[in-house]
C-alpha cells in the first residue's frame, strides 16, 4: 500500500482535468492505496453541497432522465469507497480559496486546510501529482 497525493486546481465543470483527477483518485482507492487530495483554487468547489443536477431543455429531458453528475456526489462516493476499502482518503480544501468563493457548505468528511497541509501531505506521501490549470 502506498500513499499518493493529488493536487487539483480546476473548478468542476470547466475542464476535463476534474474528471481525470477524480478517476485517478478512484483508481488509487480501488487498488488499495491511501490518497491525499489537496483541492486548491477553483477545485474547492468540487465538494460544495449546494450543487444540483439539472434538466436539459435542449434535449427536453428531465432531471431524472438527464442524470447529470455533480462532483459533490463523486467526492462523497470516493470517501465512502475509501472507507469500505479500508484506506485513507484525506480530502483537504484550501480555506482561503473557499473564503474567496463563498464555498462554505462542504461535503462531510472533507476538511478545511491551507497550503501548509499540502506540504504535510507531500511529506507523508510516496508520490505527488500536481494537476495545474492551463
Amino acid at each position: 500500500m502506498s500513499t499518493v497525493t493529488i493536487l487539483t486546481m480546476d473548478a468542476p465543470y470547466e475542464s476535463a482535468n476534474s474528471t481525470t483527477a477524480l478517476r485517478i483518485v478512484d483508481a488509487a482507492i480501488r487498488k488499495g492505496h491511501n490518497v491525499n487530495v489537496f483541492a486548491y483554487e477553483g477545485a474547492v468547489s468540487y465538494s460544495v453541497t449546494t450543487q444540483k443536477p439539472h434538466q436539459n431543455p435542449v434535449k427536453g429531458t428531465s432531471v431524472e432522465e438527464e442524470r447529470h453528475p455533480n462532483t459533490k456526489d463523486w467526492v462523497a462516493a470516493l470517501l465512502s469507497a475509501a472507507q469500505a476499502k479500508g484506506v485513507k482518503l484525506d480530502w483537504v480544501r484550501c480555506g482561503l480559496c473557499e473564503d474567496e468563493r463563498g464555498a462554505f457548505e462542504q461535503v462531510p468528511g472533507t476538511r478545511r486546510g491551507s497550503p501548509a497541509d499540502f506540504v504535510k501531505q507531500i511529506a507523508s506521501s510516496d508520490n505527488v501529482l500536481v494537476i495545474p490549470t492551463k
Binding site: S2, V4, A16, N17, A27, A28, K31, N127, L129
Partner: protein, 109 residues
C-alpha cells in the same frame, strides 16, 4: 537511471507547447531514463493516425513508452485497435501504478 511519468492532456493540434513536452520525453529517454508518456483527455487526439502521429512513433522508437488513456480514446471515438504506430492504449490504473511505486517522477502538462 530515473523513471518519469509525463502526462500530456493537451491536443498537439491546439497547443504548440505540446511539442516541447514531447522533446522533454525524448531527451530523458535518450539520456537513459525510463519514460512513460501518458496521453489523456485531448492529448490522445494525435494517437489517431494523422499528420501529427509520426512524432509519437519517433518517441516510441527512442524508447519512450507512449500510452493513450482508454477512457479518453473511447470518449473521442478513437478505436484502441487502430492507434498510430508506437502508441498503445492503457487504463488510468497505469498512472496509479507508476505513482504508487514511489520512484517515478510525475509531471502533468
Amino acid at each position: 537511471m530515473s523513471k518519469y511519468l509525463l502526462i500530456e492532456s493537451r491536443d498537439s493540434f491546439e497547443f504548440a507547447d505540446v511539442g516541447y513536452f514531447y522533446d522533454l520525453a525524448e531527451g530523458l529517454a535518450r539520456e537513459g531514463h525510463g519514460v512513460t508518456l501518458f496521453l489523456v483527455q485531448n492529448g490522445v487526439l494525435p494517437a489517431r493516425p494523422s499528420a501529427r502521429s509520426e512524432r509519437l512513433a519517433r518517441l516510441s522508437e527512442s524508447g519512450v513508452a507512449v500510452l493513450a488513456d482508454e477512457f479518453s480514446l473511447q470518449e473521442r471515438g478513437i478505436p484502441a485497435a487502430s492507434l498510430a504506430k508506437g502508441v498503445r492504449s492503457a487504463g488510468i490504473d497505469r498512472v496509479v501504478d507508476l505513482l504508487a511505486d514511489g520512484s517515478t517522477r510525475a509531471v502533468w502538462h
